[in-house]
Amino acid sequence: MLNFTLFKRELRANYVVFLIFVGVLALYESMIVMMFDPQLGEMLDQFAKVMPQIMAAFGMVSVGSTLIEFVSSYLYGFLLLMFPMIFEIIVANRLVSRYVDRGSMACLLATPNKRSKIILTQATFMFLSLLSLIIISTAMTIAFSEMMFPSALDIPKFLVLNVNLLGLHFAISGICFFGSAVANSSKLSYSIGAGIPIAFYLIQMLANMGGKLEDLKYATIFSLFDPASILKEPGNLMPLFILCAIGIILYSSGILIFNKKDLSL
């Protein structure tokens, strides 16, 4: 099913990128957790009253007084959407379309490995690296919270929030992986893999500003991940289910198209 030699090579080729993203997340997560202070929350609430649209655009709506509300608003409205997304865009492109674009895919296919095995290995690598990033990120935030504000974080609820985040990134990485698998050039791969998620996020920013623009939330994948309602209703699994379905469809159609298409190597 999978080729472990190739998997190991991808580990070696991508661990630096992975560590950079872990580092950046560690930096922001520790800073945000450190900033938590019930009094500061009130101050930020006042900011939100003064300029509601700007704060809303970045998903920072209701700054609650609990640590989980604070963290979900400041980390899960922008930073944990953007950074893993950039990671997915970069890694997805490196896993498939870069090899095709440069021609080195020929080296991989000139071995007794089926195309399906190669692409399945790359898809698995994409998913596992994303899974590791989210797990490490979750563990880091829990660790920072426990260090600075012992037992202030509602850990079970926080885990549910992160499972939903994983679902969102599974779907986004599906877009990136699909783009990388179907494109014959890195340019086209980036247009699909970066263009679509970024467009979705811009639509989300507009939709967050409310008013007439609110209907735009139906045109973006990001409205399937709403931290506030996840915390309110942790049992509602419908958005997570839809995100996973999107991810599965995109990954599998990327794999199927890659198996069938002409490779100009």
Binding site: T5, G103, S104, A106, C107, P112, K114, L265
Partner: protein, 298 residues
């Protein structure tokens, strides 16, 4: 027994590009040349044999297995050298060779080491820092390390210096002795001439002919530039009845097809100060072979 069979293979890229109704077969143990100018469709044909692209029409098989659907099985006994080599640039040379050996399930690196010695290759350092010739050598090591039974080589000696080109030809001849089937594409006649039993000539995506080397060699014309001591001698020689390409003061250019003995005998009568051989380009060879221009349809 045919090892490689290509049947009516067609891939149309539009505006005359692509390959059209290519049919040929290569016998087991044969060294088969695939000769054509740049853009004639050599690489497109090889891409089909590698299963990289889907044919519009027709099919190709290696060892009886369909190239598109059974490529993984075919690759177990195949060695492929791409025309334009692209590696994982972030890897070191030796790591890459080990990586490819593992991908091919080859645990024993004896053959790889033999080749590195033969090609005088020291694969230290990053691949992206390597010259074209170095990369070509690494590509060749990757081709041979699994002791393949069938070789697909797309312009194999490009980028190698003359010494290494000779080593490469020795390598091919040694493989030929072992009974390896070799399909070798080139736009250089000499590369094909020294190794191949038969050769196909492709032009504008269409197979022009398949011929054995003797016939091709016989039709190959060489031009000799003979410089005489005096202009008078040159004028006298011009009347000997050879096919002349040009006469300029004391230098005569003579074209000879096949047997050169008559020319040598005739030259004996004169005092000659210099003799140069001008080898034909592939285009001139085509011109000769068909007696038509390069753009004329064969």
């Amino acid at each position: 027994m045919s090892e490689i069979v290509i049947n009516n293979l067609t891939k149309n890229y539009g505006s005359g590009k692509g390959i059209f109704d290519v049919t040929l077969s290569v016998k087991k143990g044969e060294v088969f040349g695939f000769l054509g100018p740049n853009g004639a469709g050599k690489t497109t044909t090889i891409r089909h044999l590698m299963g990289f692209i889907n044919a519009d029409k027709g099919s190709c098989t290696i060892g009886g297995l369909d190239c598109r659907t059974k490529s993984a099985e075919i690759q177990k006994t195949l060695g492929y050298l791409p025309g334009e080599i692209a590696f994982m640039d972030d890897m070191k040379g030796m790591d890459f060779i080990r990586f490819i050996a593992k991908m091919k399930d080859v645990a024993d690196l004896t053959r790889a080491n033999e080749l590195m010695e033969l090609l005088e290759l020291n694969p230290q350092g990053l691949l992206k820092k390597m010259s074209k010739g170095m990369k070509q050598k690494i590509g060749l090591v990757c081709v041979f390390l699994s002791n393949p039974k069938v070789l697909l080589l797309d312009e194999p000696s490009s980028g190698l210096d003359p010494l290494m080109q000779n080593r490469f030809i020795e390598l091919i001849l040694a493989e030929k002795k072992k009974g390896t089937t070799i399909f070798l594409s080139s736009h250089i006649f000499e590369e094909i001439e020294r190794t191949c039993d038969r050769t196909a000539i492709i032009r504008n995506g269409k197979l022009a002919t398949i011929t054995d080397m003797q016939t091709l060699r016989a039709s190959k014309q060489k031009t000799y530039l003979i410089t005489f001591e005096t202009d008078e001698q040159a004028t006298a020689f011009a009347k000997e009845g050879f096919k002349l390409s040009s006469v300029t003061s004391n230098t005569v250019a003579v074209s000879v097809k096949g047997d050169v003995m008559p020319l040598i005998n005739a030259m004996n009568k004169y005092k000659i100060t210099a003799l140069d051989v001008k080898t034909q380009t592939l285009e001139e060879l085509f011109l000769n072979f068909y007696g038509k221009g390069e753009n004329g349809n064969a």
